[in-house]
Symmetry: C2
């Protein structure tokens, strides 16, 4: 198993160690509960509360499974070995070694993507690993302390206390929200003189922040941020990052302005690790961001099938048959097929019928209907019925098709997906192992039993001030599919709580939340 | 107030903010509970649990007192200003500024002393600041992980897993003990294969470890370490530190051997900060490690008296009258005076008499007799009565005098002393402030009311495995003056618990201890 993140750990927690001899290779000897990471930047939770030593998560008794703290640097699928290298500060005289495998699981995640923007690595901070968050926290503390020194001109104070967030996705938004909570709840107590000199700006390249969520959520978030005084610049791209300012270009007018910052947090998208590129090459796949896998998560192009899997952020489960836009391309034709009474609108009955017809050839339809009983299919229609007339016109129908496409086109790069994939693969591998042990099959790599199916439980985003938004479109939860506000925050606490990988983690996170409630956040520069 | 450590914080917690306009300057924006620091190296307690933001400790309401995160770099006692410089990563365009004062309190502590040994700063780790301990923890995790990689030769594993502790004082001993606890309690679970490849060596320049404690404690500690397999090399000095080994010279034979290490922790004594050197120079004092102060903690040589104080590790409260070795110099003469019946031995009655006679002119005698009723003076004699014959021969008497000298000669550089000095000075300054406010005095710097008196509550050292030692010689506690073993550990928990500066700290430390008890220590490299 390569990696110790969401995907790898879900696998490790479910694999049967009596069937497999498990070795884990990762440069990070702990699991990181990423969804809570933005809170570390201001001390809502402590870094240590979000991590769990991998060794404590290994299956079986101590010594049954092995963990190697190193980076995998290349895979040889023919010889079935992984070349590894210890890239940490302390290394043995020979930092390289190889690990042989029968079955390989690649769960190495994806690094942040700078899109080649100059200056990002030098001057901006990412928000991906635990050290990134600690770094941002230290930097913020340092900025607040420096701005508090005697004789610093107000102009300089304001520049230092400008926080620039590049990327209006959930991570950027959650960081901005955490920061705003800190300003509101703790700054008056800790730095009373700085209160009015702080500004937060979010730069987003799309039309709206949280643009992968339901529009209502985007809007709710934008309104809340506006009330909180968080500036949102949409349709802008950062073209350059210098030590204390970024150049931001308006995508329409092409005009560029300079935005000064004390700290710039970069959170725009995912890139590719060198290892993933090399696996893509070894498998003879076309160059892309992620490793292409089939619906059983088997790496395409590597034989024997079943010897190599990939999952999580480094894997792309888009099936060949359902490449993006397929349904949308045919939307008008499908609309005609659906509109049996030719009244120019698809009513409830017609909609249910066409979904059922399409379901078999277009797996993406399942992401719309998933888990919905016949009665509930009505609800699906109403999701797209913007004018509320009980049926879908051509435009509304197109939106339904587009959404089904977009759902399948790429499973989102989330912990939710990685976690389900890890659990799925453990079940598959356990079944295979048992079948071989019982002598029911003799092939080294028997055929998989059933494909991976993603159950979308909804997308959360915290917005600060005990407000959150939840988008459960396509989820089987008995909930309104778009929920916003304070009640949602309670749900959020619940979900993140149950997300923590161990009881230790759970207890620590709850204690952190309690601590914050009782004593406020800690401003120490550590 | 310069500093945010034990001395400064004790002052801040007790000063009356209605009488003074308090400004605090320190490069560290938090207080650090040093006695628990060795535990951070292995995760017995978390770094954050030992710190408390200074801003939360400032007297009065938010905004009443100021904190500036910067280093004081020079004091001008005539102009009464402190020059400061922000030495952190983020600085304003002009990182220097000055702070005027009426009354200055210097509590800047003392840095580790390398005694000029080459290689220490490059290759060894200190155990002084919180980042040092975090550093050691990361390094240890890295070493254990690297030693666990496939194909590392056993020889190399053993070298990596050698821990070298330079200095057999309480910090070095406590670190060795914490590490041994980690090896015993957590390594079997986390790194079962490495169990027998780990070694700990303590190098001490004196005859015994813990040589400032009672001999029985030294002995108890040495025996416990021997049982635990911790190697103690006494009468040796480290003459050079390289990347993976240190050269150790036997003080007697002058023979040098090389000791390989994976990590070397250096904890041998205290040095002088540049600021302290410059204050010593400005006050016209002879060059020494610490600022010389009188019994009111006023810096000698700075006028007006009462405008500058120093306390804690950076201050030397040795009074001129009692400079070191005074009693020892006269020991033979005093022995003659004491031995009234001229039988060549000082019996109990004679000893009590001479102590009473000397008490007035030699304040150091009080550190022996302190708080002891007449009956208890017998106990004092027995402390030095090595052959147990009920009286002191010439050699035994000398030892008593030497000890009295050494006690006063230098208040030990401990948190206990710094804390009491801070509390004392706050009381003094409050009295002065009140007297001036009531118009009872008009002088800007009225004379101090009473001198500082140190109440020694005993010296603790933890030895691992829930064992501790306590030396309460000279303490007014109703306790056996030397206590060792498991019961003492309970006391230790109690003392350290009450040492935590805030309820937040207390709660966090107790939670850490609980966490460790339930889940073991966390091996994550963070
Ligand atoms: C700040 C933040 C907030 C997020 N919030 C949410 C959220 O609220 N909800 C949600 O569903 N998702 C969220 N995500 C996304 C989620 O974290 C990722 O989708 C998820 O971690 C992907 O899991 P993974 O196992 O593929 O990769 P990761 O969890 O990133 O793990 C990758 C692992 O591979 C290791 N690795 C890297 N290179 C190598 C190598 N060469 N060899 C061996 N190992 C290697 C890494 O050290 C790591 O252990 C968030 C992400 C971030 C950064
Ligand atoms: C690992 C360890 C364990 C210990 N265990 C014990 C124990 O069990 N019992 C005990 O009694 N003692 C113990 N001690 C000793 C104790 O910590 C010190 O004696 C005590 O901290 C001294 O207090 P202080 O206020 O003088 O200095 P410190 O607490 O060291 O504080 C000095 C402060 O001054 C600041 N400073 C430094 N330079 C400047 C500058 N130029 N300008 C402004 N500020 C500056 C520092 O940032 C710091 O805030 C231990 C020490 C260590 C390192």
């Amino acid at each position: 198993v390569l990696g110790s993140g969401w995907g790898a750990v879900a696998l490790l927690k479910n694999i049967d160690p009596t069937l497999y001899d498990v070795s884990v290779v990762s440069p990070r000897n702990f699991f990181l509960n990423t969804p809570l990471l933005p809170g570390v930047t201001v001390g809502t939770v402590e870094a240590r509360s979000l991590i769990e030593p991998v060794r404590a998560l290994l299956p079986g008794k101590p010594g049954d499974a092995s963990f190697y703290e190193a980076a995998a640097i290349a895979v040889d699928p023919n010889a079935r070995i992984v070349r590894c290298k210890d890239e940490s500060e302390v290394t043995a005289a020979n930092p390289e070694f190889t690990v042989p495998y029968d079955t390989l699981v690649v769960a190495v995640g994806a690094p942040p993507n700078t899109f080649g923007t100059p200056g990002v690595r030098e001057h901006a901070k990412f928000l991906k690993e635990v050290d990134d968050a600690i770094d941002v926290r230290r930097k913020l503390a340092d900025l607040f302390e420096t701005a508090s020194l005697p004789g610093v001109p107000e102009e300089e104070q304001r520049e230092m206390l400008s926080v620039l967030v590049v990327g209006g996705g959930p991570t950027g938004v959650e960081f901005a929200a955490e920061l705003h909570d800190f300003l509101r709840e703790d700054v008056p107590r800790l730095y009373p003189a700085l209160r009015d000199k702080i500004s937060i700006t979010v730069v987003q390249s799309a039309d709206h922040i949280l643009n992968t969520y339901d529009e209502r959520i985007s809007k709710y978030a934008e309104e809340k941020f506006a009330r909180d005084g968080i500036r949102i610049l949409t349709n802008r791209r950062v073209t350059n990052v210098a030590a204390t300012h970024a150049s931001v270009m308006c995508k329409k007018t092409k005009a560029t302005e300079k935005i000064p910052f004390g700290v710039c947090v970069w959170s725009t998208g995912l890139g590719t690790t060198p290892l993933v590129s090399s696996i893509i090459a070894a498998a003879g796949q076309p160059r892309r961001r992620a490793v292409s896998v089939d619906k059983y998560l088997q790496v395409r192009g590597i034989s024997p099938r079943g010897s190599a899997y990939a999952l999580g952020d480094c894997a792309d489960v888009k099936s060949k048959a359902a490449s993006g836009g397929e349904l949308l391309d045919k939307a008008d034709e499908l609309f005609k097929r659906a509109d049996v009474d030719e009244n120019g609108a698809v009513d409830k009955g017609e909609f249910v019928n066409i979904l059922k017809t399409l379901e078999e050839s277009y797996p993406q339809i399942a992401t719309l209907t998933k888990g919905a009983a016949d009665g509930a299919l009505h609800d699906i229609l109403s999701r797209f019925d913007d004018d509320g007339d009980g049926s879908l016109d051509r435009r509304e129908f197109r939106r339904a098709m587009a959404e089904a496409d977009s759902r399948l086109a790429s499973h989102p790069a989330t912990a939710q997906v990685a976690n389900q994939q890890g659990e799925y693969l453990a079940r598959e591998l356990n079944a295979r192992g048992r079948a071989r042990r019982n002598g029911r099959v003799t092939a080294e790599y028997p055929a998989p039993t059933k494909p991976f199916e993603y159950v979308h439980l909804g997308s959360f985003a915290t917005l600060g001030g005990e407000r959150a938004a939840l988008d459960t479109r396509g989820s089987p939860l008995p909930l309104d599919f778009v929920s916003r506000g304070a009640g949602t925050m309670v749900l959020w606490y619940g979900v993140y709580f149950s997300n923590c990988v161990s009881w230790r983690n759970k207890a620590m996170v709850v204690l952190d939340w309690t601590k914050k409630g009782v004593w406020g956040r800690d401003s120490s520069r550590v």
